[in-house]
Subunit: 143 residues, 2 copies
DNA sequence: CGGCAAATGATATCGCATTCGCAATAGCGG
DNA sequence: CCGCTATTGCGAATGCGATATCATTTGCCG
């Protein structure tokens, strides 16, 4: 996997957390990161997950993905502008690469538009087919 | 002002809270509701605000407006489908009545789109003109 | 007007994500 | 291989929005 950001020491915990975030094809909750990285470092602590998340954010290696009313998820920071799709069944959040582009026509007159966020809701591919998929470790295809 | 939802007794507190939410032209935080309604009922308690919000939601009189990483705001439930604009300076949230419409082309193949949310960020009319406006009671033009 | 129970205000408490404190562990330079 | 100290794991503590508790107030019906 890739390189870790500048930390004074290289540890199995940091590497496992970093690997899991990079390998995932979608933003992960802190708890998901813990569950997944615990596959490589079984006794991994949630405190270490939070500490590492914070360090990775400070070096702009990962960024937080905030959805309304939900805990933060994290994904690599090098993704270009994109949006999100949340499955209402398995609750997983997926990146949506396309963007409708200019939304200036939505803005009330006198307002200045600087940025926008679009969140789509529905059923993901697997949940659309009738497959029952819950957001547990077993459904997180990482690595 | 309008009628209150079915509650066993009519109180000044309920009426003041309801009035403030209806009169506002934008979704309000619980704290904003407290500040504004306290104009009519000075000793109003935050507990009563939360109790009334809950009751008004249960009767579908108001609904929660959730923005990423922020506390819930509340607005009348009878508004049609719309989106939101948040001013990055005064932090107020405004309704945006227009909607770009069909977003099916954004959805990855195999996914089923059921709903969407769009949040615009920038400067509101007042903050675009250089006027300094902070989200305090004095800036909440209610009633 | 009287009386009962709903509603309120003040404050304590909860829930829960996140952070802290500290002893134990383990990178890594020498 | 040593030793220093960054890092970890564990459990306790924190922060804060929201809710519960309870004595007091107040609608409201008769």
């Amino acid at each position: 996997m890739g390189d870790l950001p500048r930390m004074k020491r290289r540890t199995r915990q940091h590497q496992a957390i970093y690997d899991v975030i990079v390998a995932a094809d979608r933003p992960l909750l802190a708890q998901e990161i813990l569950t997944l990285a615990a596959g490589a470092v079984p006794q991994l602590s949630i405190a270490t997950v939070y500490r590492t998340i914070k360090a990775l954010q400070e070096t702009c290696t990962i960024k937080a993905v905030l959805l309304p009313g939900q805990n933060p998820r994290y994904e690599p920071a090098d993704h270009s502008h994109h949006h999100y799709f949340q499955c209402r069944q398995c609750e997983r959040v997926f990146d949506v690469e396309t963007c409708p582009g200019n939304l200036d026509n939505l803005v009330p007159s006198g307002f200045t538009l600087e940025d926008h966020e679009i969140i789509l809701y529905g059923r993901c591919c697997e949940c659309s087919t009738g497959t029952i998929v819950l957001a547990t470790a077993s459904t997180l295809n990482v690595g």
